[in-house]
Symmetry: C2
Subunit: 241 residues, 2 copies
């Protein structure tokens, strides 16, 4: 099955183009976008195939340097954004003969959720990037390189499921937030209205928020309590939202 | 980054040993095992590395024949068991420089749940296989080739999570079963006792079973209703079990 060469063992089959891609979710401030977005880059000069098309940030796994595919994805994100992601979860591997004109390819895809605070400097540097609103992706209004539309579909499905039973989406919020802000983001991620009273009850029952004492937001007549999360790690709701 | 050769485009990095492995869960009859098991094979003659060690069924992805990694895994299962799996879900990709002594390798791992009925002929043919009980895996009583212990740990974590909120585990049951049988299997998959009265309530609420009229099991004094699933596709409990 294998023969040994100076480049290591080589399979008798055509080698796999082995890559990684990242789905980066974030929630920009209202003046930039009114809902959660995904970051895509324009494929730069001489980057064939799909030159000039929008694509998820990604790249070859460097088997000479990268310890594994997670490390490769962290490197790709660090190269693009300037810092490694604090959270990274494997989404799925997409592979096959048809997804890259160069040959049989595989991409191990990870996703992360980053608060805008960490991305503000990157965005201010005017990167060759675009922020795709979730609603536009859901309505198939985007057309990315490779099978990245399909990857986004699976990523949104995953985040939607996680928004149903975990506090993972709170990673997108600023450090201090109101329950109304949190509720709005859950609605955006799930792509459907969520009853506010029931939402508030479930959030209270899970007991993962701490009141930030003395801080209220909103008009003087209806001040809203501000909270922060007790832990960074996501917690699970006993019952779906 | 790539150069074109007669074998297609070759990366300047060492090629990845690109494989797939399958975690096959099943529930044998009581005379064979008293709990759900995973199928492992002994690595046959000349199959280095890890010759003679137990391993998950797997193999190279054949980029010349396999359309994608799912098709490769289906082929591997078909070759081992004689039929393709009716259900196959991607578990995770495991990769890196250290997991295979031949070089940087990647395995896209899938899992399936098969009722024993489909496996009875295969088992009767005395394959070079072993059935690992979940409790033995949980107690780290097994030591498989490559990183397959780690793969099993992740697979059991996944099935445990799915057993918490979905009817997926029912795929392991025979076509007709009692709620007590179902309850016992959920306990085995989750590795913890589950309150029977609450379990029965949640099962009834989900309304995914049909009574098989006239069929009762057990002693004459305490007959138990026998059911079958309304649909093959797994359903989700609104609330964790």
């Amino acid at each position: 099955m294998f023969k040994k060469t100076d480049k290591g063992f080589i399979s008798k089959y055509q080698p796999v183009i082995y890559t990684t891609d990242a789905v980066i979710f974030t929630l920009p401030p209202p003046e930039i976008a009114s809902e959660p977005v995904v970051i895509v880059y324009r494929r730069a000069d001489e980057k064939e195939p799909y030159f000039d098309r929008w694509a998820l940030p990604g790249g070859m796994v460097r088997t000479n340097d990268d310890a594994n595919d997670r490390a490769a994805c962290e490197r790709v994100i660090r190269e693009k954004l300037g810092f490694p992601p604090s959270y990274l979860e494997q989404l799925q591997t997409f592979s096959g003969a048809g997804r890259d004109p160069r040959g049989w390819s595989s991409s191990v895809v990870y996703f992360t959720l980053l608060p805008w605070k960490e991305l503000a400097n990157w965005w201010a540097s005017k990167p060759n990037a675009q922020l795709l609103p979730l609603s536009a992706i859901r309505k198939s209004m985007v057309s990315l390189a490779f099978d990245h539309d399909e990857i986004l579909r699976v990523a949104i499905e995953r985040i939607q499921a996680k928004a149903h039973y975990s506090t993972l989406p709170c990673m997108l919020l600023p450090e201090r937030f109101t329950v109304a802000q949190m509720h709005g983001m859950y609605e955006a991620l799930q792509g459907r209205p969520i009853n506010m009273a029931a939402f508030r009850r479930k959030v209270e029952k899970l007991d993962f928020l701490t009141k930030v004492s003395g801080v209220f937001e909103g008009g003087a007549q209806r001040p809203a309590q501000v909270y922060r999360m007790k832990h960074r790690e996501p917690a699970l709701f006993d019952r779906g939202l």
